[in-house]
């Protein structure tokens, strides 16, 4: 039985159809990340699960029980907010203990529970301080501590790391992952940051305009996206999309790009597209799959290009060049290119590219066996 079950959920804000029929089934103990751009409805979905918003249609069930009409406090959930939502007039201890006191936990049990939560999050030394005396990272830990202390069934996170600076974010990400490993509870996490989604999730639910675009394990979505949107959303820098025509020649299928460029397609991956020969497609290739030309290997398409832009980051160098007529980004080793204007030989790993139907924006070949 799923721990959280959502069926055909709809939510309106006035005339705005924000959540358009979501079906989701989450097993116990799983870390699910709702990810997508601003306005895609992920926060609304989370808040509806929490009971802070009322579902206009459909149902939310926790542990098999329909909770649509239940107040948040009866749903046995805990939530961490983006702006921490700590009570400014109470000490850290009181903040964490608030929920326990509200549920009439006996007094002698409160202190040890708070202490345990504080230890877990390394904030025991801050228990007597007030929120205004704490830094962003500490505030976030207190917010998580408040959620953790209650031993709820379901944990909800609403973009908790958005207000932190980059370094702190990396740190906290690891802590949250470790927290999930230690507690083993069902957690639902909302973010717009795809790196957070990739690193934290057992399952990613990519949302777009109120609907689920695709859901599955992170690597599954990364390597086998079903739509152009998914392919372009995950991965940094994002995937290159190059218009091309599907053709057939003596050695099999190939792609004809603008400016007379032609790339051969390995049959194993793209053989099923015979009936599409002659149509326009979109070639999707990730920057990391374009490398400096090495030894000959099957599936590698060689090209010679003039580098237009060089952006070194220290460990790698990102370069821009024209493939066909489209600006393309490749991720090369640090010293592969010195300056723009250089002419270089590159290999495109055609075993990893995907093809997309330009009109439907659906992926027609992504390596998954059909």
């Amino acid at each position: 039985m799923a721990d959280l079950q959502i069926e055909t959920l709809h939510k309106y804000y006035g005339d705005n159809h924000v959540v358009k029929g979501i079906d989701l089934s989450i097993p116990a103990g799983e870390f699910t990340v709702l990810v997508g751009q601003s306005g895609c409805g992920k926060s609304t979905l989370l808040r509806t699960i929490a009971g802070l918003e009322y579902a206009d249609a459909g149902s939310v069930s926790i542990a098999g029980q329909r909770v649509n009409d239940m107040a948040p406090k009866d749903r046995d959930i805990a939530m961490v907010f983006q702006n921490y939502a700590l009570y400014p007039y109470m000490t850290v201890f009181d903040n964490i203990a608030f929920g326990l006191r509200a549920r009439k936990t006996p007094a002698h049990e409160i202190a040890p529970k708070v202490q345990k939560a504080a230890d877990m999050l390394a904030i025991s030394h801050l228990l007597e301080r007030y929120p205004r005396q704490l830094s962003g990272g500490q505030l976030q830990r207190v917010a998580i501590g408040r959620a953790v202390v209650r031993n709820a069934r379901l944990y909800l996170f609403d973009e908790p790391l958005s207000n932190l600076d980059a370094q702190l974010r990396d740190e906290m990400r690891g802590e949250i992952k470790r927290l999930h490993q230690d507690l083993g509870k069902t957690m639902i996490y909302v973010t717009h940051d795809q790196i957070e989604a990739m690193t934290l999730a057992d399952r990613i639910v990519l949302m777009r305009e109120g609907r689920i675009e695709q859901q599955g394990a992170p690597l599954e979505l990364f390597e086998h996206p079903d739509a152009k949107y998914v392919a372009g959303f995950l991965g940094s820098p994002s995937m290159n999309f190059i218009p091309a025509q599907l053709h057939s020649d003596a050695s099999g299928l190939c792609l004809n790009l603008a400016a007379g460029l032609s790339l051969a397609l390995p049959n194993s991956r793209f053989g099923h597209l015979q009936d599409r020969v002659g149509t326009a497609v979109l070639l999707g290739v990730r920057p990391e799959h374009i490398q400096r030309k090495g030894t000959e290997r099957p599936g590698m398409a060689a090209i010679h290009v003039d580098i237009e832009l060089v952006q070194p980051t220290g460990s790698r160098t990102f370069v821009e060049f024209k493939l066909g007529n489209s600006t393309t980004v490749a991720e090369l080793q640090a010293h592969d290119v010195q300056r723009s204007g250089e002419r270089i030989a590159l290999d495109i790993d055609m075993n990893r590219v995907i093809l997309i139907d330009p009109t439907s924006e659906q992926v027609i070949a992504n390596g998954r066996q059909h």
């Binding site: 709809h10 309106y12 358009k20 579902a55 206009d56 249609a57 459909g58 009409d69």
Partner: protein
């Protein structure tokens, strides 16, 4: 709703208890508003009654006809001039207070003239009970021969309202991002030009609202008017009290006069909805 179009079969019903609460709240809100408004209605309605209707027991709740006789009497007898007096005094003092006050406020906000103490002292001026200073002012005015003169009243109201204007405008000016003024300075404006071309336009709303509240304060003022006017510059507030007799009151005149006096304020407030809270609370609450 587009839900049917999506093929959704069952829409969730909003729980009955919630809808009931909403309706109850609406009823209560309307009731409260009516209760508070009734006295005003009573006043307005009385001003349209004939003398017989007013002095009738049990009281008439809705006059037979809306007649303006009471108002006409006021104009004929020349009592309505008091409204004119109020208008003159209030308007001029408001203009003066606004001009000087905004300038002061700008200086306080941007150049920290006098530091914290000055601003605290200014707000404490607002708190001074008029009763305490009425007497010395009266004596001063007798000495200067300013009793019952336009000049006297105008200057008084200006001085009295100045702290309020400074306090409010300082708040509004502080809300303007400094970077705007700095950009103008870099672009080549003098401080004076920055004031006129950047600051003033940016706080137009606040200016307007403060002016209205200043006007209202002067307009409604009673104590000083009572003390410092005799026959020439009687303001409408004092005029109304002239009608209060020992045994019986000229309700016709009182009602009409009160309505006349309240009308401008009422209109002004209708326009200033947005700035209401801030203006009344001395800027304690924004918006």
């Amino acid at each position: 709703m587009g839900l049917k179009a999506c093929g959704v079969v069952s829409v969730n019903k909003i729980p009955l208890s919630y809808r009931l609460r909403q309706h109850l709240r609406l009823v209560l809100a309307i009731a409260v508003t009516l209760v508070f408004l009734f006295p005003v209605y009573w006043l307005a309605m009385n001003s349209f009654k004939t003398a017989d209707e007013i002095y009738s027991s049990p009281p008439v709740w809705w006059p037979a006809s809306l007649q303006l006789n009471n108002y006409l009497v006021l104009f004929k007898d020349g009592d309505a001039v008091s409204v004119w007096n109020s208008l003159v005094v209030s308007t001029i003092s408001t203009v003066l207070a606004m001009s000087l006050g905004t300038l002061c406020a700008y200086s306080l906000a941007r150049f920290k003239t006098g530091g914290d103490h000055l601003s605290n002292w200014i707000i404490s001026q607002r708190m001074v009970p008029p009763i305490a200073v009425v007497f010395p002012i009266f004596l001063l005015y007798v000495f200067l021969g300013w009793v019952d003169t336009y000049i006297g009243m105008i200057l008084l109201y200006t001085a009295f309202n100045l702290p309020y204007v400074i306090w409010m405008m300082r708040g509004y000016i502080q809300d303007i991002p400094r970077s705007l003024e700095e950009a103008a300075l870099v672009d080549g404006c003098t401080h004076w030009e920055v004031f006129w071309k950047v600051v003033i336009p940016m706080c137009k709303g606040g200016l307007f609202a403060t002016a209205i509240f200043t006007f209202i304060f002067a307009w409604n003022e009673f104590l000083f008017a009572l003390v410092l006017t005799r026959t020439e510059v009687v303001t409408y507030t004092v005029q109304v009290t002239h009608y209060l007799g020992g045994q019986s009151n000229f309700w016709t005149k009182i009602a009409a006069m009160s309505v006349l006096g309240t009308l401008p304020v009422f209109i002004a407030v209708m326009f200033m909805q947005r700035y209401l809270v801030r203006g009344i609370s001395l800027g304690a609450v924004k918006g």
